[in-house]
Amino acid sequence: MTQTRGMGWTLFSRHAPARARAGVLAATACFWAIAAAAATRVPDASPLDSAAAGFKSYVLDQIARCLSATKNMRERIAAQDLAGAQRAWLAARGGWEGSEVITNEFFADLDRKIDAWPDAEKGFHAIEAKLFGAHDVKALPAAEELVNDLEDFDNQLRAATLTAQGLLNGSTKLAYEIGENKAEGGESPFSGNSLQEIRDNVASIAAAYARVFAPATKKRNAALAKTFTEDLGRMHALVSVASLQELDQAGLRTLSETLANDLVMIGRESGLERPGLGN
């Protein structure tokens, strides 16, 4: 598939071809003209789509893990076992956060139900508030609904075709989201699971890159591939602290944006459109 590069490409990356960079510096007055002038090499994205389709097995494993744990959580809630339900909730979140490169991008409606925020009635966070905040296992209706929604998600995922463009969009959005403010507890403040969820997000980005984008990127722009791997390693190290309180908030934001920009460049090198970041 041949695509015309989007007008909004980042032109000043560390890894932009020297020719393109020189062209950009010579013509600062007109952004659109610069963008158009820089649209040169356009690789075929079809092999990437094949790789993206193959990535489904990885995500199916994550969702299977999530669904299994969620069913267990439902049983523990029904059995009035608070600690067991809490453990199951945490296990379920691992699978869900490990799938986030695709959840919003490909299944936005289900994502809105499963991972709703703020919502006291349904979804992971409503149950989290009950189990971890109120220490209350009266969450069976929400747990039942969550199981149903995840089964629906699993079915829809099996029927879906994952595309390289979609995975690029999802990975870039997720890289950006990692840098959002965590100063007051993060996404899952009641359970204290936010830091682990960031780690799971990073792992899902790394998996998508390794399985879909890395081979072509290494071939087309080895320096970019090396930089992304290094930046990913820095992110791994940064989120390896023991607690959210120890997390370098400013560093996390900077690195999340660096990773997102890396992914923009990776998409460009792969002949894909600039990732849309709206959600």
């Binding site: 610069i34 809105r112 925020w117 508030a129 100063a183 507890g185 934001r253 920009n261």
Partner: protein, 475 residues
């Protein structure tokens, strides 16, 4: 006149402190008897920063009021004032800047940090959290003062201990908030910014601080009482210390029976600066008047007290002190901040460039959160418009990162070129933001629905067995 607004901190995931406060702080701390605990966050559970307010203080700059424009130094000062990087320790980590307490250079009557506040709008600058080296072992919080008109209000500090505003600002940064030693340029800039922020206009005040225009009888009588010598000591009067010809201050410290020597506070804009007295012990003018009546044996009648309150309300008023937050104001602020780079990049000033870009990055990320994401179940409609607005702002953030990377590595020409591109992205984003505004938190209905949902979620997280007495409830 420029209408400027500012909030702080990203929204979606910053509710923990604010709403745990509303609910008695149990949600994020209560782990007794449970196997797992929550993320208490970086501030004490129960902290309230007031960042869900819909209206924001009006910010008026003297330079613009006089027909000019804000200087580079004022804009840089605004950037530094808004940046957590100016401070250190827990403040920086928690994303707190000068502007968090002094919202648009005014006060923050909602701010409450357990262990450092005794009531909303007060804060102990010698507590353990923000700089253990200043911890004096006493909970002695002070009200957060408005900085409007600060150029007329020396000396500084409630006790007036510091004559120089630069010295005072330096102490706040380095000692009270454990910040790094500021460069002379940044310190000068913060002072320039503070000194450029004016009182909001009060058309009822004429020359010499006299009330003008149609006056109520109570206001006329109150003004006369204000100038009237105290019965027991004719050398004293209200106007003797709150000098109407001099911004209602005398630049001196007095013992008015509040526990020590404290400087005379201005009465300008005072309607918007409650609570009153250095420790915020009074929430109304009536309480203040009663205090003086009691301490100075004024022998005021009930009508006298009402008259003085009417007068204080008249001189402490303004045509407009708060304005709704909106996209126009946000873009203006971001553009102002970005304009600092027009000087910093040609000068190869990497420090100022980094500070500016970090601040703009935070502001744009925070603006993004004004457009609820699709998974926000409290908001329906405008899904595409919200997504486009969020996407455009994220593109802007990523372009800012490109500028920062180039400047950090000394590639200033490249950074300048990237700046051109960022401005183009900002310009292109504007119609998308405007299209998304009806479904954004700038819309009162959406704002209220969103925060009501947040409250419901946090209420559902309260363990009745662990919940302490509720302090107050915004509902």
């Amino acid at each position: 006149m420029s209408l400027r607004l500012r909030r702080f901190g990203a929204k979606r995931k910053r509710f923990a402190a604010a709403f745990a406060a509303l609910l008695g702080a149990a949600a994020l701390t209560g782990t007794a008897g449970a196997e797992f605990g929550g993320n208490a966050g970086l501030l004490p559970a129960g902290s309230e920063l007031g960042d869900e307010a819909f209206d924001r203080p009006l910010e008026i700059f003297r330079s613009e009021s006089s027909g000019g424009r804000k200087s580079y130094l004022v804009k840089l000062g605004d950037v530094a004032f808004s940046s957590p990087l100016t401070l250190g320790g827990a403040a920086r980590q928690a994303g707190i800047s000068c502007n968090t307490c002094h919202v648009n250079a005014t006060a923050n009557p909602r701010l409450y940090i357990p262990g450092l506040s005794t009531r909303p709008g007060t804060f102990d600058t010698t507590g353990h959290l923000f700089n253990p080296k200043t911890d004096n072992g006493v909970l002695d919080p002070l009200t957060i003062p408005s900085l409007r008109g600060a150029h007329l209000l020396a000396p500084y500090g409630h006790d007036g201990r510091t004559l120089s505003l630069p010295d005072f600002v330096h102490n706040v940064i380095v000692n009270e908030f454990a910040g790094p030693e500021p460069s002379q340029e940044v310190l000068d800039a913060i002072v320039a910014y503070i000194e450029d922020v004016d009182f909001v206009p009060n058309r009822r005040l004429g020359p010499g601080g006299k009330l003008t225009g149609p006056l109520a009888d109570a206001e006329k009588r109150g003004e006369a009482l204000f100038y009237k010598p105290f019965a027991h000591d004719p050398a004293l009067s209200c106007a003797g210390c709150h000098v109407p010809t001099g911004a209602f201050v005398d630049h001196r410290q007095h013992d008015v029976g509040s526990g020590g020597l404290f400087k005379t506070p201005t009465l300008l804009d005072a309607n918007f600066n409650a609570p009153y007295f250095h420790d915020g012990r009074y929430t109304s003018y009536a309480q203040v008047v009663n205090h003086f009546d009691r301490v100075f044996y004024l022998g005021l009648s009930a009508r006298d007290r009402d008259d003085l309150v009417a007068y204080l309300r008249a001189i402490g008023d303004a045509e407009q002190a708060l304005v709704p937050d909106n996209i126009e104001a946000r873009i203006m602020e971001i553009s102002d901040f970005i304009s600092v780079l027009d000087t910093a990049l040609p000068e190869h000033n990497a420090t100022v460039a980094a500070l500016t870009l970090d601040t703009v990055d935070r502001e744009v990320r925070e603006l993004t959160e004004q457009f609820p994401e699709r998974k926000n179940s409290a908001v329906t409609g405008g899904t595409q418009e919200r997504a486009r607005a969020r996407g455009a702002l994220k593109d802007l953030v990523l372009s800012l990162r490109e500028i920062a990377g180039a400047a950090q590595n000394g590639r200033f020409d490249e950074a300048a070129a990237a700046l051109v591109r960022s401005r183009a992205i900002l310009a292109a984003a504007r119609p998308l933001l405007e299209a998304g505004e009806p479904w954004s938190l700038f819309n009162r209905q959406i704002h209220d629905a969103h925060f009501a949902a947040v409250r419901r979620l946090y209420r559902s997280a309260v363990d009745p067995a662990l919940a302490p007495r509720q302090r107050y409830d915004a509902d």
